[in-house]
């Protein structure tokens, strides 16, 4: 055998060794959950509770926005994608192209909450008024019966599912005002509103209640929302109103897997959707899944 082939054999051997090692390393891999910032805290808590009983199933939970989760599932870099909005047709088409069978699980119900600084005297808004604020059609609170001060809009970045949900369901697919401050997460929106008396923002209901007091976080005011002028306005803290749809901007929060979940992923999702997991959902300020969504979850788990 000449030197050339010895070199080739050595290189091939090294390559095989690396591949073999990598396969072994891949055996005990961590379950990845990526996506919605609305869900990230809740799923982190669920994962911690699950891992306390299942130490051999490590779970890593990352935010980054619903679009990040969708991309990760499409690229195969996560087992579970969290989204606070429905999957877009374009994303479902991409999944179809890549042979990914998007299987959805409703994890919780959220009443998307419109919040202002506690010094704002307004107590309620109509859907139309919320849209007018975020489209930039109303630039002064006086325009909707509030004080004479310029509206300061707080929202999320476009990779956020909440950004997309509000745009689709409240702004009716019209663009946000260019004056909106695009914040990284729910906590940043709350920080902004606490320090800005002219502010308005939107966050998941699980972010506005102070766990120690069980009341809305000090410094914030939660606005009741009505479907239209003259109709009754409801709070996202009103569970019945959220379930019945009387609170007009409620939504399911989703998790998606590629096909029916198996192994550790299945065990984790079963835990989340089970009695214990749904109690944690409620404890963290969201609402548990009931009715047809719960039935669909069970079907998708099979």
């Amino acid at each position: 055998m000449n030197a050339k082939w010895i070199k080739i054999m050595v290189l091939a051997g090294l390559t095989l060794a690396v591949i073999f090692t990598s396969v072994l390393m891949a055996q005990n891999k961590m379950i990845q959950v990526k996506g919605s910032d609305t869900l990230v805290n809740l799923v982190q808590i669920l994962a911690e509770e699950f891992m306390a009983k299942n130490a051999s199933t490590p779970i890593a939970v990352l935010g980054g926005g619903s679009s990040t989760g969708v991309s990760a599932l499409l690229n195969g870099t996560t087992q579970i994608a969290d989204t606070s909005r429905d999957w877009k047709q374009k994303e479902l088409d991409q999944a179809w192209e890549k042979g990914i069978k998007v299987t959805l699980f409703a994890l919780a119900i959220d009443g998307l909450s419109i919040i202002v600084n506690e010094k704002n005297p307004l107590n309620e808004l109509t859907m139309e008024q919320v849209a007018a604020l975020y489209k930039g059609e109303v630039k002064n609170w006086k325009g909707i019966g509030g004080p004479d001060m310029k509206v300061s809009l707080y929202g999320r970045q476009s990779n956020s599912g909440t950004y997309t949900f509000l745009m689709e369901h409240v702004l009716k697919n019209k663009p946000y005002s260019t004056d909106m401050k695009e914040m990284n997460g729910n906590a940043q929106i709350i920080e902004g509103i606490l320090s800005d008396t002219a502010a308005v923002g939107y966050v998941g209901v699980g972010y506005i209640v102070d766990k120690s007091t069980g009341k809305v976080m000090k410094g914030l005011k939660l606005l009741n929302i009505s479907k239209a002028k003259g109709e009754a306005a409801f709070s996202p803290l009103d569970k019945d109103a959220v379930y019945s749809g009387k609170y007009p901007i409620s939504r399911p929060l989703w998790q998606a897997t590629n096909g029916s979940p198996k192994g550790g992923v299945k065990a984790f999702i079963e835990f989340e959707l089970g009695v214990e997991g749904q109690k944690i959902v409620e404890r963290e300020g969201f609402y548990p899944i009931v009715g047809p969504l719960a039935e669909q979850n069970l079907k998708n788990l099979k």
Partner: protein, 360 residues
């Protein structure tokens, strides 16, 4: 104007600018999401043969710079995006200009050039995306995306000239417009009109390249793409590329792809007076052992290098591993290239590359 007058005028302009910028700062407009990214890749190449067609010089093992991209992207709104990308190539023997000496010279320095400079306008209607400017062309974008290892090797049509030394007027970027969309989840399309002279040449004729593809996804995980482009070379002669891609993604973590193309240019004639026509096919596959850590890949290309010069066919096999050693920021990609030739006078070449891929 005296010096102190110039100074006063300069001061006034500076004050004006300062006031203006203060005013802008007061507005509640938040800058749109903007990103700056850099991607660099280079090889350490070791030549396992010393008597092959390419490796008989003999060649010394070496670090070999391949590419550096600097990309600025600005998401202006939900429907509008702008991209500016510099590319620094392995520009051996590029000519530099000595302005002082009013002369030019050749050297091995790496110099950036503009690769992309386009606006992308998205619309919900047919999931449309319109690109305008120095755009990505359509010829091999789907296969490049599927292969995903440009740092290791370009795909068949894109890398054709690099491998065979023969120009087939295929470029990854050009000035023009393109429209991509979807008629249904089973049927997508793309259309483009561009100069045809590529990003590195000036347009010198009135003829433009028209390109397009139809992508059929009959079942989840199976794509079939038919591509064609057409450009008149002069008043009487034309060049046509036809291409078929098949992507198979029906098995978890495994992707198998097939690419075939044919290029016919009536402006060039073979020695037997037939039209200049070349082609080839490529089969490649990846297996994601762990999508965040390791992917193994393999590829087989068959080229018809140049029917005009009667150079015989050649094959290329590439095998390797993509190791995300530092996550997405730093990847190590050991790979072996094995060239073989139908021409018995040409001996096989074997080259080992350790490719360093850095992105930040």
């Amino acid at each position: 104007m005296k010096n102190h007058q110039i100074s006063k005028a300069g001061l006034a302009i500076l004050c004006l600018l300062a006031v203006s910028s203060f005013g802008w700062g007061q507005a509640a407009v938040v800058p749109p999401p903007q990103t700056f990214t850099t991607t660099v890749y280079f090889d350490y190449s070791a030549f396992a043969t010393t008597n092959g067609y390419l490796t008989s010089n003999p060649l010394s093992n070496k670090f070999h710079f391949r590419r550096a991209y600097f990309t600025y992207e600005n998401k202006i709104s939900d429907y509008l995006k702008f991209r500016f990308r510099y590319d620094a190539d392995n520009t051996v023997n590029i000519t530099s200009v000595d302005f002082a000496g009013k002369s030019t010279k050749k050297d091995d320095k790496l110099r950036p050039f503009i690769k992309h400079l386009f606006l992308e306008w998205s619309q919900d209607w047919l999931q449309s995306r319109f690109n305008i400017g120095m755009i990505e062309t359509l010829a091999f974008k789907p296969s490049e995306d599927r292969w995903g290892l440009r740092s290791v090797a370009k795909t068949l049509v894109d890398g054709y000239k690099d491998i065979t030394g023969t120009e087939i007027k295929a470029t990854s970027a050009d000035i023009g417009v393109s429209w991509k969309g979807a008629l249904a989840k089973q049927l997508r399309f793309a259309l483009g009109v561009h100069n045809g002279s590529a990003y590195s040449h000036a347009e010198t004729d009135k003829f433009k390249k028209i390109s397009g593809y139809l992508q059929l996804v009959p079942v989840a995980g199976l794509s079939i793409i038919g591509y064609g482009d057409y450009e008149k070379q002069n008043d009487n002669q034309k060049a046509v590329t036809t291409k078929i891609d098949v992507f198979f993604d029906m098995i978890s973590k495994i992707n198998i792809s097939f690419e075939w193309f044919n290029y016919n240019n009536e402006m060039y004639m073979n020695t037997d007076n037939s039209h200049y026509q070349v082609g080839g096919f490529s089969v490649f596959g990846t297996y994601k052992i762990d999508p965040d850590k390791f992917t193994v890949f393999a590829r087989y290309d068959h080229y018809q290098p140049n029917s005009r010069l009667s150079v015989k066919d050649q094959d290329l096999i590439i095998l390797g591993l993509d190791w995300f050693a530092w996550g997405a920021t730093g990847r190590l990609q050991p790979n072996v290239w094995i060239y073989s030739y139908k021409d018995a006078a040409r001996k096989q070449d074997v080259v080992f590359n350790l490719t360093f891929f850095l992105s930040f």
